[in-house]
């Protein structure tokens, strides 16, 4: 028994001249909630379909539970899928839908009855057995699709943007419920999404993908706080990018000069040399605004725009002629939050470790 539920080794998939998946390797641990995150067309759904067996590999190897899959058809793989559009059988009742997989595996009738009802209980949808899918709401269909997959007790559950069609409130509720469900059943979930917040909320680990490649694999905190490159930093959350040149190195820090006038101190990264063009990434919420310089390294700027968004206020602050950064300040409480008007002279401060040096 391998410690990995699913392993991909140098997996590629070409559709004619189009390279959908470009030599990716992933090791997904047993019992893990693993997300494939990326913009549409990044190859995440194709990767999922390669694991399910709906697409055949162009190159590479797929192992499920330590066993090489090769050209094993989908109906012989120990995985089940929750499809983006749910793909419930419209001519069957909820019961028949959920029972389908068990029936195909020739499970005994009494066991089917019991397990289907248990599965519907698990997704909190009891008493709906005799409805047809078109008599259910989107959220209920979603739960049936989940029950239909989980009832088979697969080694791995594959979920292809299962919450995409639900409205925001329901989606948020389902995120937490899915996460709790995964804990309870202990099955490995591989979850495809383009929604970075969803991935951060639910996953144990995330693989960020773009243009058929995996850019970074890590826990949500790791991905968010230490993005591997500019794409990851940009795709996950919001980031200010300041372009400059390394002008000095001292005590694990690099001095980066932006637009020739502004010097920023950033933790040094391996392989970054003197005079190299680099990008400094800094999240808007890591920056604080002050009327007086709180620290010798605080950066002066002028407020260009103030946008009130409810939970926080966003300031666009001009640092140099060419560089504007976004700063987010939480609206802590009336009277305790200091607001700055447009045109105000402010000082920006952040902990040195909050900024990240990326290759340009």
């Amino acid at each position: 028994m391998s410690e990995y539920a699913v392993e991909l080794k140098e997996v590629s998939k070409h559709f004619g001249p189009v390279v959908a998946v470009d030599g990716i390797s992933l090791s997904i641990r047993d019992g893990e909630f693993f997300s494939l995150l990326g913009p549409s067309g990044c190859g995440k759904t194709t990767t999922l379909r390669l694991i399910a067996g709906f697409e055949l590999l162009t190159a590479g190897k797929v192992y499920i539970g330590g066993r090489l899959q090769g050209e094993t058809p989908p109906y012989r793989r120990p995985v089940n899928t929750v499809f983006q559009n749910y793909a419930l059988f419209p001519h069957m009742s909820v019961f028949e839908n959920v029972a389908f997989g068990l029936e195909m595996q020739k499970v005994r009738k009494e066991d089917i009855q019991r397990r289907v009802l248990e599965a519907l209980e698990l997704v909190q949808l009891p008493g709906m057995e005799n409805r047809k899918p078109d008599q259910l709401s989107g959220g209920q269909q979603q739960r049936v699709a989940l029950a239909r997959a989980l009832v088979n007790q697969p080694k791995v559950l594959l979920l292809d943007e299962p919450l995409g069609a639900l409205d925001l409130k329901l989606r948020k509720a389902m995120q937490l419920e899915l996460k709790a469900l995964q804990h309870r059943v202990g099955i490995t979930f591989i979850y495809v999404t383009h929604d970075q917040e969803e991935a951060l909320t639910m996953s144990d680990r995330i693989a960020v993908m773009n243009e058929g490649r995996v850019l970074q694999v890590g826990a949500p905190g790791e991905i968010y706080e230490r993005p591997a490159d500019r794409f990851v930093a940009d795709f996950i959350g919001e980031t200010n990018f300041l372009e400059g040149q390394v002008q000095g190195r001292r005590a694990g820090e690099a001095a980066v000069v932006v637009d020739g006038v502004l010097t920023l101190h950033v933790p040094i990264e391996r392989g970054v040399g003197m005079n190299e063009e680099v990008t400094v990434a800094i999240r808007p919420e890591k920056i604080s605004l002050h009327a007086e310089p709180p620290h010798p390294r605080a950066v002066p700027g002028v407020v260009q725009e103030v946008i009130y968004t409810g939970t926080d206020t966003r300031y666009l602050v001009q640092l140099t002629e060419k560089t504007i950064v976004t700063v987010r300040q939480q609206n802590v409480g009336i009277g305790t939050t200091v607001y700055f008007p447009v045109g105000a002279q402010v000082y920006l401060h952040w902990q040195t470790e909050s900024a990240r040096l990326l290759k340009a």
């Binding site: 058809p73 989908p74 012989r76 089940n80 899928t81 499809f83 419209p90 389908f100 997959a149």
Partner: protein, 304 residues
């Protein structure tokens, strides 16, 4: 009051818009149908024509074994035609519907092109193929027979005997039930393919993937998902093939010869040769009743 006046106005407007089609249906469809129904209870006049009496004897006459046998054969031929059309047409429709979209219309067009030629001409073409001196038999008793002869001379073995004997006389193709079925299948195949194609093309193939994901192999996914979901196309196609096959006249007339006749030919001869309008009308009505009942049962089965 106002609502009532409005609904009255609506009714008039509806009648006005429906008038052309209603007029057409009543004058050219319902009226002749009633006339035929009335005639079916009449009696043949001495010199043709109809004597207006009310008698069920025409319907009673239909149950003569002679006509029942023809009717039975008609049913078998129509059912066989429908079944063969389904077995040939559904896979074809499936093939076309699963091609890339830009190919599909072209393939459907290819299917339709032969049918721009007159039906009679196409049926005559089958006559040229199937008859004793037809193309198939020219090959059978000519090229194939000669080839076998040469093979037999080169490799003298006793096994060639039966083959040589078989190819020395033409195949009896023309004038059989088989010939009629071939002609009917050829004639009505598109009527099976098109509704099946429409149903398969509408099918959400992620459902097939879902079935395979749930451990159904290809056969099971077909039987449990594809087939039930495309059943409306199969039902529509079968009805569209079965009904014209049951009432077929030209095809059995040309390809069935004197031995194989169908109920359509009987109706024709009652009107045109025997001049027995009442009996012809009665057979027509029995045929219509069978079609109606059969179709209703079939639709009921298909929707369950």
């Amino acid at each position: 009051m106002a609502a009532q006046a409005r609904s009255k106005r609506e009714t008039w407007r509806l009648l006005f818009l429906l008038f052309p089609s209603l007029f057409w249906l009543i004058v050219f469809f319902l009226f002749p149908l009633l006339l035929v129904f009335a005639i079916s209870f009449g009696q043949r006049g001495t010199y043709g024509g109809v004597r207006w009496v009310l008698t069920p004897e025409n319907y009673a006459r239909f149950f003569d074994p002679l006509y029942l046998r023809i009717f039975g054969r008609t049913l078998v031929i129509a059912l066989a035609t429908t079944l063969i059309c389904l077995l040939a047409g559904y896979p074809l429709a499936y093939f076309i519907a699963t091609r890339p979209p830009r190919w599909r219309n072209g393939l459907i067009l290819l299917l339709m092109i032969p049918f721009w030629t007159n039906f009679l001409v196409r049926t005559y073409a089958w006559l040229l193929l199937l008859r004793d001196q037809g193309l198939i038999n020219i090959f059978w008793t000519g090229a194939l027979h000669d080839l076998l002869l040469q093979v037999a001379m080169a490799v003298p073995l006793p096994i060639w005997g039966p083959f040589l004997e078989a190819t020395s006389t033409p195949l009896n193709l023309f004038g059989t039930n088989g010939a009629i079925i071939v002609g009917l299948v050829y004639g009505w195949l598109p009527d099976m393919v098109l509704p099946c194609y429409a149903a398969i093309e509408r099918l959400d193939f992620s459902l097939v993937e879902a079935a395979q994901d749930l451990y159904a192999n290809r056969l099971k996914s077909f039987l449990r998902v594809i087939l039930p979901l495309t059943m409306p196309g199969i039902v529509a196609g079968s009805v569209l093939v079965f009904i014209p096959s049951l009432g077929a006249y030209i095809t059995p007339d040309l390809l069935g010869g004197a031995k194989s006749i169908m109920i359509g030919n009987v109706i024709y001869s009652q009107f045109m040769s025997a001049r027995d309008y009442p009996f012809g009308s009665a057979i027509s009505f029995v045929l219509m009743a069978v079609m109606l009942v059969g179709t209703l049962i079939y639709f009921r089965m298909g929707t369950e």
